[in-house]
Amino acid sequence: MSETPPPRSAVPQLLLDLVTNPLDPGYAAAARRRGTGPRPRGTRSAAAAVLAIGCLVIGFVLVTAYERTHRGAPEAKKVHDRLVSRVRTAQHDSENLAAQAAADEARLEALRAQSLPQSGSLARDLDAASLAAGLTKVTGPGLTVTLSDPKAATSTPAAGRAGSVPIGATTTLTDRDVRSVVNELWRDGAEAIAVNGVRLTPTSAIRFAGEAVLVDFQPITSPYRIQAIGDRDELAVTFAQSDVASRYQTLKGAQGIGFHFGDSGSLTLPAGSPTTLRYARGGTR
């Protein structure tokens, strides 16, 4: 440092002062003004009062900040705990209701079996209707179509929060693919279809949410196994000749998706979840 520093060094000097001489320069100045002699009595008591007030304010500020920080935290935790317990209660209720529904279903089944004739046209009609509505477990020959996403994603997944990535960027297969295969199978004469073990009923919807395909609001992921019961030969032949099948054969070569289908001698599809009709009424009663 030279004796007469140029004005340009003002800012580095400021930083240097800040680091090397952190004490407020006021103390040194006051000490110089005061000299070394003893202070008069009046000044000392005034100084003590000022000091006391200053320290009081400082203590008050510090504890206020502490209070504000730590009073808010338990509140947030309480809200969180309350929400968690509400979710748990709702889950528990939902499980109870499901169990109750299953029990009621069984009782209804038993009562119906008691009150209805075991054979005859009514029983046959009922069986046919519940089969068509997808309300009973069914077994039969049919076709299984498997669609799966490419092993290595065709594009690198973008970094970021889940759900913020455009659908096309990470997933090759969407609800549309599953739906087109299902529709083609219906057209080819399938009598009952299940996707990844979820039975399709007349009111089922295949949709897309986030990165999962939803079948009747139950999320399923790749590989998608679509099982259809029907005339296995006819299903296999018509499906193989369909536009849908040729499209996925092409995609299999071009994009590396998994696509294959084969007929099976015996497929078992679970019962679908029954729908409660709230507005529709039967016309014959």
Partner: protein, 110 residues
């Protein structure tokens, strides 16, 4: 002596009164806290250096709080409030560290 007692009284007062911080004051509370810590460490060091002065102590504390609050207030109005309050905290934080180091040298001669 008086200082320590007053500090304790202030802490007890805060615990008893449990003041709620009004919303408009909330951004300035961290700055007030850092300025208060800076004043405490500065005062302690000045006392150890034998040049403590009550008037300088109180005036420097109050003016530091006011200037820091003014800077942050202006920053808030101009859209750089967060950055300026970071600047205030950094400057006062460096001072706190420097003074703490000086106090340590006083006590441990190291």
């Amino acid at each position: 002596m008086i200082a320590g007692a007053a500090l304790v009284v202030g802490i007890i007062l805060g615990l008893v009164l449990r003041p709620t911080v009004p919303g408009w004051l909330e951004p300035y509370l961290p700055i007030a806290v850092v300025a208060a810590l800076d004043a405490v460490f500065g005062g302690l060091r000045a006392r150890l250096d034998g040049i403590f002065d009550a008037k300088v102590f109180v005036v420097s504390f109050i003016s530091n709080v006011l200037v820091a609050a003014l800077i942050v207030f202006l920053g808030d109005k101009l859209g750089v409030g967060g950055e300026l309050s970071t600047a205030v905290v950094v400057v006062l934080g460096i001072r706190i560290f420097g003074n703490a180091a000086a106090i340590r040298r006083h006590f441990f001669r190291a």
